[in-house]
Point group: C2
Chain length 189, copies 2
């Protein structure tokens, strides 16, 4: 029961942080959203900041886990890159509110808590870089600067949440295909 309540509170917080921003959302807003008194809400959470940390932590951990699963396969580097781009874009778009909170609001965390998210983000960049390094070793990619190239690809993918609309012409999978084609050609050049 408590676990369900905590899940419900986290979902309410994600929704409000996405709509109004972290700073503009009060603990009272979150309590109202789940139909609890503010005092009762504090039985389930320590602070608004802990909620933000929890949301951002779960989101970046999911991105990392999916990426690690791709790296653990026997796929070629180009195949891994296609899979990584598709995973990232479909996950961003199917959890748009969570992605927005991770990418737009996490800077509001205090220094220590923000560093936790930053370290996991650095890890994520490192995993993308490993795909480029594998492709370079195997002679399938021409990459001068694997990390900056990884940041270019990841940046393109991270921006999708800003412009994607369900009413748009392309599905997340089709967008991922356009992106992958661009990057694969770019890396083979």
């Amino acid at each position: 029961m408590a676990a369900n309540r905590q899940k419900e509170i986290a979902l309410a917080a994600v929704k409000l942080f996405e709509q109004k921003g972290y700073h503009a959302t009060s603990v009272q807003d979150i309590a109202d959203e789940v139909g609890l008194q503010k005092g009762s809400l504090y039985h389930y959470i320590h602070s608004k900041e802990d909620l933000l940390l929890q949301i951002a932590h779960e989101a970046i951990t999911q991105f990392n886990d999916n990426m690690q699963a791709v790296l653990d396969t026997d796929l070629t580097a180009p195949e891994k890159l296609v899979k990584a781009v598709e995973n990232h874009i479909t996950m961003s778009v199917s959890n748009m509110e969570t992605t927005t909170v991770l990418l737009r609001e996490a800077f509001s965390l205090g220094d220590t808590q923000h560093q936790v998210i930053q370290d996991l983000t650095d890890k994520y960049v490192e995993l993308w870089t490993q795909i480029l390094e594998q492709g370079s070793r195997d002679g399938q990619f021409h990459v001068e600067q694997p990390k900056v190239t990884a940041l270019a690809i990841l940046g393109a993918c991270n921006w999708v949440y800003r412009w994607y609309r369900e009413s748009g012409q392309l599905s997340p999978t089709e967008i991922a295909r356009v992106f992958s084609n661009l990057f694969l050609s770019g890396l083979s050049g």
Copy 2:
């Protein structure tokens, strides 16, 4: 004199919005930063939101103006793309606080004011798309989806403000070169 004061207030607001976020910055914080009473500050500004709109508007207008200048040249599409990437990255990095406020905080504007920024952002995407369309017409680029491809390239460039550090190995110009090489190879494939 009043114009100088307004400039000074806008600079203080950019600094605070970048450091603390728009919502966490009070009008009192801005007044303190420029050494004015809160009441006196209101001689120069209408509201905190107007300041945010002004900052975001100037920033996106500058990006658009620089891009229009590139489009107005007789350069080839690949040359224009190189120039556009370099302009965007060097401008982002040399005005890091303003770029951060534009890209991270503008969502806090009310609907009508946010639409002003959104329209100018749509215009910016359209200008990038025009370079890809020119390259496609001239047979220099293979582009299936010019707009989504423009969003990929712009996303990569827009993400630079999130990870760029002055202490990093590459200068903004070198980062722009890595990015341009990736995209030019990608578009020629």
